[in-house]
Symmetry: C2
Subunit: 210 residues, 2 copies
DNA sequence: ACCCGCATGTAAGTCGTTACATGATTCT
DNA sequence: AGAATCATGTAACGACTTACATGCGGGT
């Protein structure tokens, strides 16, 4: 049983990471394409996202290889919808992928790229940019920490049991918190450096042009 | 002069982020396409990268709109090369971009995505995965910290002058250090949780299959 | 003889975003 | 009447990866 199902649907073409993102959501609850799109710009949006235009075709592909199925749910007050559920083969494909050899994709961070050329910019303007980003990330951090508090309240001990979905949610959230915390610190450090230099350097780089 | 040059080459099509990455490197020193590709998988690789197949056409585009120029350097022992230099218009386009309104691209982190479904995996295998990643990131962190030490040695006070390229290098590097540090901590935390649960849960999930 | 580093390009294909397209129902 | 939410798709384009293609010179 543990080796048959993985081969059943897959034929041979490997799945995209998006496919696993969808399977991961569907392993927790049955959802429509619309719901999946909503999840992708909400909760899990900070580590994976996709638009509905990418999700609908991907769901069709997953169904074609037998990793998900759908049932049409008729609604009177709203448009009907297709609710997708993961199959046994889908669950297994997901579980296999989770611990499979991992090749990290190259990082791309536009703000760091800007920092790399920041010596060409006006220090005052640059400082404003990084202060702004500092605020953005501080807000995001606060939001995550609020969710963390809620999580600890709702689920108690369950949060520490690795077989629980709540644990996995918590784990991902901790990554988000660590990420934002580091980002805020960096922005603040850089902005501070830029601001202090703006004064010492003398001339009116900070003044409005008009 | 401060407003003519920006419009000269650009016609109207916006530049890709890659274009600014290349301009940022060329603003520091003249380089061939080959050299640029090398930079992109070395030093600056941790916040931006590109293959030569993407770089060569992009350089042609930049030259077409007058932001860079090239001179052919004949070599006897090696193939001739085209060495690119940024123009005044190029420098200005870069400087303008640096502090322009910034729309952060969506984050995608496959390891966090895996963590989100980790409740479906065997805890022992999952722990191994995150321990492995912890090591990888710890090595990366050590490397960055070594570079930081060198940087502080070579350039002294220059590192604290925002108009110096060394400062910008330092700033980007600090981001890398913060990032890796947070990542290592997260991997270690998660691995620990997975390992402790593996023992309490009882059976031999950690044993070799053969 | 063969591989590696230098050096420059093109082509095919995947992944992702933006925009196009439609249509029902509910709220203001 | 107009906007917002729910709901599902397709099309065009841009960004990026992998593979194809070529050729010289130096080291083993």
């Amino acid at each position: 049983m543990s080796r048959g199902a993985a081969e059943d649907g897959g034929s041979d073409g490997r799945l995209s990471v998006l496919a696993y993102a969808l399977l991961g959501l569907l392993a927790r609850e049955d959802l429509s394409g619309y719901d999946l799109a909503a999840r992708m710009k909400g909760r899990i949006g900070f580590f994976w996202s996709a638009r509905h235009s990418q999700i609908y075709p991907e769901l069709a592909r997953l169904e074609a290889v037998g990793l998900v199925t759908h049932t049409v749910v008729l609604q009177s007050d709203r448009p009907d919808k297709k609710v997708y559920a993961v199959t046994a083969a889908g669950r297994e494909a997901l579980a296999d992928w989770l611990t499979s050899p991992f090749r990290p994709a190259p990082n791309r961070d536009e703000l760091t790229l800007r920092a790399y050329s920041i010596w060409l910019a006006d220090p005052a303007r640059a400082a404003a940019l990084f202060r702004h980003q500092e605020r953005r990330h501080a807000e995001q951090l606060a939001e995550y920490e609020a969710i963390e508090t809620q999580l600890v309240g709702w689920f108690g001990d369950e949060l520490w049991r690795p077989v629980s979905p709540a644990f996995a949610t918590f784990a991902a959230l901790r990554r988000g918190i660590g990420h934002e915390r580091a980002y805020v610190e960096w922005c603040a450090w850089l902005a501070e450096r830029l601001e202090s230099a703006d004064g010492t350097s003398g001339d009116a780089g900070a003044a409005e042009p008009s």
